[in-house]
């Protein structure tokens, strides 16, 4: 029999975690890959070192947190330039974050984030998981300075997310493409580059490279309005990476992507990580996050219900009752045998399906074979 790769898939019923509220059918599918590399965990220093306090950069946001002296402008740029990714300086420091929306005709307030506390160290890759409506996108939008918090303290690189230098150092990939649909892909990237004061030639080079990497080079002169959902997703990630940000906020980056796109994005994110970029990735599919992220943060109804690496998360939730064992290289007889063994032990084999990573690997090999 071929070599086996053991995968354990655990189903966590989040209704157990937020009792007494009834979450109905909300279920988080959590896969834990039993690979040594994925098991490492970056110790997170919640109250770690902070960026130096500078009087002139004070931002007067009204919130419940005590007034802070925040660096901005030149001081913040200097902080960013000299920042060592290996330091445990919290790139993202969120305390007591509350964010609500008005919904419906009467504008009833809906609280999306309930006093969230989160700290992410420099160079760390953190995955946000949770069902739809759990507040993942809201958190990312607040960190990208697109939304403003109702209360609480949000600091990115030790400063307000609204600060110009913070925005320059942050790349955000929203859930749906918001870019002008009447513009061509390369023109949008040129516009974004110019807004971020990138040198024209460097911007063009980087844009061409990114479009090539995400497989959109052949449609660089096409209008975004003609792009499919998957193409727009790839484009959004290219746009977020254009200026090589030190912090990358990705909202459902792989939604709607085919395996080829998934592989391309994966490789780009690997490179970003190698440069020391801090990543915060949201997804409702843990399969997107478990390999890449050292830490997973589970959000339910705007609250963090658990965090840690994949193993710790499963253990802390105490939800190992339902498991899926995934094998590679099994033939039909072996699968039948497995089914019999499971039945003999009072269990049930739920399903047999190819893993998505196999398809990704297939595309990778195909692409490698095509290269000269």
């Amino acid at each position: 029999m071929a070599s086996l790769e053991l995968r354990i898939r655990t189903h966590i019923d989040l209704a157990q975690l937020v009792a007494p509220r009834d979450l109905g059918a909300r279920e988080l599918s959590l896969e834990i890959f039993a690979q040594p590399a994925a098991a490492r965990r970056v110790e997170h220093q919640r109250d770690g070192a902070r960026a130096p306090a500078i009087e002139e950069g004070h931002h007067g946001r009204e919130d419940s947190a005590p007034a802070q002296h925040l660096p901005s402008g030149g001081a913040l740029r200097q902080t960013l330039a000299t920042m060592d990714p290996s330091e445990s300086l919290p790139v993202i420091d969120v305390r007591g974050l509350v964010r609500s929306y008005r919904r419906g005709f009467w504008g009833r307030a809906h609280v999306a984030l309930h006093g969230l506390d989160l700290a992410i160290a420099s160079g760390e890759c953190v995955g946000l998981i949770g069902p739809n409506g759990s507040g993942k996108s809201t958190l990312l939008r607040v960190l990208a300075a697109i939304d403003e918090p109702d209360s609480g303290q949000v600091r990115v690189f030790g400063a307000d997310p609204d600060a110009r230098a913070t925005r320059l150092a942050t790349g955000f990939c929203p859930e749906d493409s918001p870019y002008p649909t009447e513009l061509r892909a390369r023109d949008v990237l040129a516009l974004l580059g110019s807004l971020r004061r990138m040198e024209h030639a460097a911007c063009e080079r980087r844009a061409a490279e990114l479009l090539e990497r995400v497989g959109l080079a052949h449609v660089a002169r096409e209008r975004l309005g003609r792009f499919s959902r998957g193409m727009l997703r790839r484009f959004c990630i290219a746009a977020a990476l254009l200026h090589e940000p030190k912090l990358l906020l990705l909202d459902e980056p792989t939604a709607g992507l085919d395996a080829q796109g998934f592989a391309a994005i994966e490789s780009l994110l690997d490179e970003a990580r190698a440069r020391g970029t801090t990543l915060l990735v949201s997804s409702h599919l843990l399969s997107d996050l478990h390999q890449r992220c050292e830490r997973l943060v589970a959000l339910v109804d705007g609250r963090i219900v658990a965090q840690g690496d994949a193993h710790t998360l499963a253990a802390s939730l105490g939800v190992a009752a339902r498991l899926e064992l995934c094998f590679e290289g099994l033939d039909a007889d072996s699968i039948a045998e497995l089914r019999r063994v499971a039945q003999a032990r009072g269990a049930r084999l739920v399903g047999v399906q190819p893993a998505q990573s196999n398809l990704v690997e297939l595309y990778r090999r195909g692409a490698a074979a095509r290269r000269p």
Partner: protein, 341 residues
């Protein structure tokens, strides 16, 4: 200012079909203007500019509102993450919108001047002066008032009559120091009287008298014009372009500012209702405070064969105030939803 963002604004504010419409107006104007008489040329110029100004206003203002509304809602996901400040974002959008307006102005001037064949000397308006409060003249009655005016200027007053009898004779006199000028005319329909300002210093004393005839003479309007000689009547288009640009900048700034708060349609409607209300009010004061009041007046002046005055400080201040209001509304309203409940 970010040129690429401004280019995006130009693209969104000036639709491709506007160029087609302008070309059509140009063809119609060129084919209908055969006369080289000053009055016919003036009317042709006024016609082309009026149509284009109306067309461009009804196009630019709603589209500027749409530009801001899109940035504020659908596209805020990328707009909000950019390091450009809101005020600069507004300024860039307004500059882009004005660039589109400038292109239309250039085209309108070309079309208007190609349809107006007369390019001889004319009179240019340099300012306005008040007229007597009591503006109805019965027989042997006269009205007196004084104005500040320079020697070499010409004063122009609009008269009309109530035809109890077909005509009336009037005499208009201007006196300064020992110098006196006078002009006599028979009034049978609305018409203008022009009188050269006497030399000297100090205020000019003016007297308008109905000397004979049975018609009741009425001083039209609340103001009279101060005119100076002008080399070519074609400079009317330059003045009209300046007025149009200021009017559009004010209206588009208001539309840009209102759209994030009340949406495209309401913002455009509200921005357009301001000049409409001022026009309906019909008073000089309403014209002064309306962003388009000076443009409408300039079009009237051009239709009389005169060259309109360049924008006054008050007109520039009005456009600047509208832009400032638009900017504040835009800065506070862009991505309004981000503020939360």
């Amino acid at each position: 200012m970010n040129l690429r963002l401004a280019a995006l604004a130009v693209r969104r504010v000036a639709p491709w079909w506007l160029a087609l419409a302008l070309a059509l107006v140009g063809v119609l104007a060129a084919s209908s203007a055969a006369s080289s008489l000053p009055a016919a040329s003036a009317l042709a110029r006024q016609g082309v500019w009026s149509v284009l100004a109306l067309l461009a206003t009804l196009t630019f203002v709603p589209r500027a509102a749409g530009l801001a509304a899109r940035f504020s809602s659908l596209e805020f996901g990328w707009v909000g993450a950019q390091p450009l400040s809101r005020a600069r974002w507004f300024a860039t959008c307004l500059a882009g919108s004005l660039a589109a307006a400038l292109a239309v102005c250039a085209l309108a001037a070309t079309l208007a001047e190609s349809s107006a064949r007369f390019d001889g000397a004319s009179l240019r308006e340099v300012g306005l002066a008040g007229v007597a409060e009591r503006g109805v003249l019965d027989l042997r009655e006269s009205v007196r008032w004084s104005v500040e005016a320079e020697a070499g200027e010409t004063l122009r007053v609009e008269l009309s009559c109530v035809n109890i009898e077909p005509t009336a004779e009037v005499e208009w006199r201007a006196r300064r120091g020992g110098e006196q000028r006078r002009v006599r005319a028979t009034i049978s329909r609305p018409q203008a009287l022009e009188l050269a300002v006497p030399a000297g210093v100090g205020p000019v004393e003016l007297e308008l008298e109905r000397t004979s005839g049975g018609a009741l003479v009425v001083l039209s309007g609340e103001r009279m014009q101060r005119l100076v000689p002008c080399g070519s009547s074609r400079s009317a288009s330059l003045a009209l372009a300046c007025h149009a640009l200021l009017a559009w900048s004010a209206l588009m700034a208001l539309a840009l500012g209102l759209a994030p708060w009340i949406g495209t349609r309401l913002a455009a409607a509200l921005a357009l209702v301001v000049p409409l209300a001022a026009w309906l009010a019909g008073s000089a004061f309403a014209d002064d405070i309306s962003p388009t009041g000076a443009l409408v007046r300039a079009l009237e002046v051009a239709g009389r064969g005169l060259v309109p005055a360049l924008p006054s400080l008050a007109e520039v201040a009005c456009a600047a105030a509208c832009s400032a209001v638009g900017c504040v509304l835009f800065v506070r309203g862009l991505g309004r939803e981000r503020g939360g409940a």
